[in-house]
């Protein structure tokens, strides 16, 4: 546990030791603003909520989270520090979880820095703040889901660009799996149960229900299980990569 915390701290500070953190945060805030005000028509709707803000998070994360996660393990593999880390008295689970939590905490900071929007909507009207709080929780859970995918993919390659592209595609698929675009592809031939199962993997569906203000245990369990499974796959990927 202490060692996981040590890994977490090193990793978390690492974001701020390079321009990565600042570039990411600035781009994230810029894009959330852009989507909220221009595409989401925050003012024109004249409604005191943050729906136009949260609506685009799945799409933003799909692009930005792989940029955070791509270096998580591929950099360790490329620079040889994986060998150093794995010969320190640290369990693989401590290392995988510590690094994941650091990336997640960093994303939480970026998300937290959108707080002026929350203040603004309170200044302009009387929003239901519990719905907004639920939106933030849902957004963070979803970010964790995307991050766990990116972390696992990053462990499969030494090349950060490859990690980015593959993570992006997988995140895209998880976003779209509830859409006709994906479901129609299966509904013609696959059993209904399979189609529904694929549809139920959609981040959008789970996020939307949380974002409406209802933190359903099933949605939380969905993201928690998804994160656990991808991190487990991450461990297998590291174990596999060590021999090569």
């Amino acid at each position: 546990m202490n060692r996981m915390l040590t890994i977490f701290k090193r990793e978390f500070r690492g974001y701020f030791a390079t321009p990565v953190a600042y570039v990411f945060i600035v781009i994230f805030l810029f894009l959330t603003g852009l989507f909220t005000f221009y595409i989401g028509s925050f003012y024109e709707r004249s409604q005191a909520d943050l729906e136009p803000f949260f609506r685009y998070h799945p799409w933003l994360y799909m692009l930005l989270i792989p940029a955070i996660s791509m270096r998580l393990w591929s950099e360790e593999r490329k620079s040889g520090t994986l060998e150093l880390l794995m010969t320190l008295p640290v369990s693989l689970a401590d290392a995988v979880i510590g690094k994941f939590l650091a990336a997640w905490a960093f994303t939480a900071i970026a998300l937290g820095l959108t707080f002026p929007l929350w203040l603004t909507v309170n200044y302009l009207g009387n929003p239901d703040n519990t719905v907004i709080a639920a939106g933030y929780v849902g957004s963070l859970l979803m970010a964790g889901g995307f991050l766990s995918i990116g972390a696992c993919i990053s462990a499969l390659t030494r090349n950060q660009v490859v990690a980015f592209v593959i993570s992006f595609v997988i995140c895209f698929a998880f976003n779209l799996s509830g859409f006709p675009l994906v479901l129609d592809f299966f509904s013609g031939w696959a059993p209904q149960a399979v189609v529904e199962a694929i549809g139920s993997f959609s981040f959008l569906t789970h996020f939307n229900s949380i974002q409406k203000g209802v933190i359903d245990l099933r949605d939380v369990i969905f993201f928690a299980t998804l994160i656990a499974l991808w991190l487990y796959a991450n461990m297998l990927a590291i174990e596999h990569s060590k021999g090569h």
Partner: protein
């Protein structure tokens, strides 16, 4: 003395490549084992298995009584390891990096601060302690790696090419450091530099094509040289033929090899037929012939020659020389 490292019949295959093929070793406290071998011989792979980075295909390793396969964390706590190329987190400074390693190693409080200061002083990192590691020279990076490996004063030290990329002064310092630490630890170093075996090792292991081909003291390794106990002399060039004929006829001498010509003088080397000392024989013969020799010294044997012989001669699998 107790064995701190026990390696039993280690095998490792990568696909069809049999990288390590039945290596067994025991290393006691106070021993420094020099791991020699051509590139790709299996040195690094063996070290990666001893330190628990990769698991063996078969065989086992125990470090201070902890099996690396079944109790990896307990074993890793006992080991200090400098991986090949001395990897470190480039964006960190040596101070931050050593602090991180100390935390992972369970050092804390005043003990941690004191130990980091001690190691920084010992390894001479003071001048670069607050520069990011990626901006450091190769020599300093290597030293950061060494500092990291010895930070928790481990009983077992595994160093993969600790002096690679260092200048002669730095090499000398690192060797002195290894010698200083040696009495209380079991140390394995891998190296390409044969003189290093003489300088710091109490035992040498030669590995090629995944097999242990020699295990013994550096002196025993030298004794396998054809030039071991050979005697080199410097005689007038005009006498060279006569000396060669006279010495070549002696029963203890295998043959005479001509060396460099230095103006009007010529170096000759007499090889011992049995490997036993022949200095007195040569000396006596030169005196008896009244030849004006100006140099006369015993060759210790050439390690690089032995190394080439051992690693290039094809051997039957499993044939290991224990001297």
């Amino acid at each position: 003395m107790e064995n701190l490292i026990e390696v039993r019949d280690l095998h490792k295959s990568f696909g069809s490549l049999h990288a390590v093929n039945g290596v067994s070793l025991n290393i006691r406290r106070g021993e420094v084992l020099g791991f020699l071998g051509p590139n790709g011989a299996g040195k690094s792979t063996t070290m990666k298995m001893i330190t628990g980075f990769i698991g063996p295909s078969s065989g086992s390793v125990s470090v201070c009584g902890h099996d690396v396969g079944t109790a990896p964390l307990a074993a890793k706590e006992k080991i200090g390891y400098l991986p090949e190329g001395a990897p470190a987190y480039g964006e960190m400074t040596p101070a931050q990096f050593l602090d991180f390693i100390a935390d992972i190693r369970g050092l804390s409080g005043a003990g941690k601060t004191a130990r980091i200061r001690e190691v920084v002083e010992k390894i001479n990192l003071g001048g670069v302690i607050n520069q990011s590691i990626e901006t450091l020279s190769k020599g300093f990076k290597r030293r950061v790696g060494l500092a990291q490996a010895i930070l928790h004063d481990p009983e077992v030290l595994i160093l993969d090419e600790p002096t690679d990329g260092l200048d002669p002064n730095q090499k000398h310092e690192v060797r002195a450091l290894i010698r200083e630490m040696a009495p209380n630890k079991a140390i394995i170093i891998s190296t390409h530099i044969l003189e290093e075996v003489d300088a710091v090792c109490t035992r040498a292991a030669i590995i090629a094509r995944g097999q242990l081909l020699f295990l013994g003291t550096p002196a025993e390794l030298q004794a396998r040289s054809a030039r071991h106990n050979a005697v080199t002399m410097n005689v007038p060039a005009s006498d060279a033929a006569a000396v060669t004929e006279r010495l070549g006829g002696l029963p203890d001498i295998l043959r005479i090899e001509p060396g460099e010509t230095l103006g009007a003088r010529q170096r000759l080397t007499a090889l011992s037929r049995t490997g036993n000392p022949i200095f007195d024989v040569v000396h006596g013969a030169l005196r008896a012939g009244d030849w004006a020799f100006s140099e006369l010294f015993v060759e210790p044997g050439h390690l690089d020659e032995v190394f080439r012989t051992i690693t290039t001669v094809a051997r039957a699998p499993g044939e290991v020389t224990h001297s």
